[in-house]
Symmetry: C2
Subunit: 233 residues, 2 copies
DNA sequence: TAGATTGTTAATCGATTAACAATC
DNA sequence: TAGATTGTTAATCGATTAACAATC
């Protein structure tokens, strides 16, 4: 898995989507599928599907297509979903709590072992059986519990320092919901979920589609009121 | 904004990040910046910055660089952040509630006006002043309140039908947290936040970096226990 | 003016699509 | 065998980087 040719980020980002569609097919008791059929379902070209999959091996068979169960399982292994992952949530606010309460993660093997926060009012509490600890206990906890992933859901002012500490203590990956870019050693992986950025790109596209110049579309119902600018999120 | 040459998705996705960095510079009372300086901060090439910005106009000045406040404001206008947006949350579960409680959206002008759910136990309740309504009331509400964006945070089995209805009723954009691809008319914009997919790509990268073959890295502490496969999220 | 830095064209790189021989 | 469909090479398309004349 290591010495082979590097897989492009575009391909990696599509893998979970393939996995999802194959899981759905499996649910519908469909046993085989061709790249052409799958391409129609997924709205991508058959060529791209074959190219993507062939990065990892020849999973299909000429004249037949792909065996759904087999391919589903292969992608599962490729994504590393055939093992458990220990995770912690750093920052017990809205999003942190929502993620702890999201039971589907556990079913997939993504196990949240603990939450860390600085707020004495929530330290000691339990969220769906997961205890909230003082951040002061984080170094010791990580070293004793082989934590793979830290989920960062804290204010951006604190995220950078915390991420540095976590990297030092051996966390391999950060799932970063804090609205800031982290600076970590290259052997620590970061995946950003910048919700505000995501929403902004949606708004851009809405404005582009429904812009004033275009008489073809419904009238934009924009209000010219200037919102208060936010400085810390 | 409409008849001009189409902006590439890659550029659009970078706009919020430019906006964020310029906001930070403004905070630090930095009045001007060159593409070279900004490139060092953002870890992208100066060439890319100049190319990106020039899609929208010549905001800089030779020999000087860019005026931070001016450029910040121009990007704000490009992204359409100089107006308010009315949004509703469809699905009052963990994530839906967390988003309602996230006060920074409102400060930016992203206003959540109402939550809709089918659960009688939460209908009538109020989350940070935002009322939870019965989904039966959604059509009427949307038609009377010029809703721009629907935030979908419901189980995937229900999301597709709801998205269809919302499109019919005139919602312009969907911010989709449901783990399914929506099929909507082309004048309705969809931005997906597939949290499970995002986490999976992180895990892929962790496995690639810390794979068994590699003796250079820490030992992977994987457990060979097979998690229960989840069918509905 | 001289130095700095943009805006923009050209070159390179990477990702997607097309085509087709191999083969089940 | 004949038809279908893969795996893979080649062609195209798009995005990034480099280079530099224009100009503040």
């Amino acid at each position: 898995m290591d010495s082979e040719k590097r897989i492009s980020p575009a391909v990696i980002n599509r893998l979970p989507r393939y996995y999802r569609y194959l899981g759905d097919l499996l649910e519908s008791d469909i046993t085989r599928i061709s790249s052409k059929e799958l391409s129609a379902k997924m709205n991508i070209t058959a060529s791209q599907i074959r190219q993507d999959l062939n990065n990892f091996g020849g999973f299909g068979q000429q004249g037949y297509g792909y065996n759904v169960e087999y391919l589903h399982n292969e992608i599962k292994k490729i994504l590393g979903l055939d093992r458990l992952y220990n995770m912690i949530v750093v920052g017990g606010g809205n999003i942190g709590q929502a993620l702890v309460n999201y039971t589907n993660f556990e079913k997939r093997g993504f196990v949240i072992k603990a939450v860390f926060d600085i707020n004495p009012r929530i330290i000691g509490m339990t969220i769906r059986g997961v205890e909230v600890h003082d951040v002061d206990k984080m170094e010791e906890y990580i070293k004793n519990n082989s934590i793979d992933v830290a989920i960062l859901t804290l204010p951006r002012s604190k995220a950078v320092k915390v991420a540095n500490d976590l990297a030092k203590w051996g966390v391999k990956g950060m799932w970063n919901f804090s609205h800031v870019d982290l600076q970590v050693p290259e052997d620590v992986l970061v995946e950003n979920v910048h919700l505000t950025d995501s929403l902004m790109t949606l708004l851009y596209k809405i404005n582009e589609m429904y812009s004033e110049e275009s008489e073809l579309h419904h009238l934009a119902n924009g209000l010219p009121i200037k919102p208060i600018v936010d400085l810390e999120d």
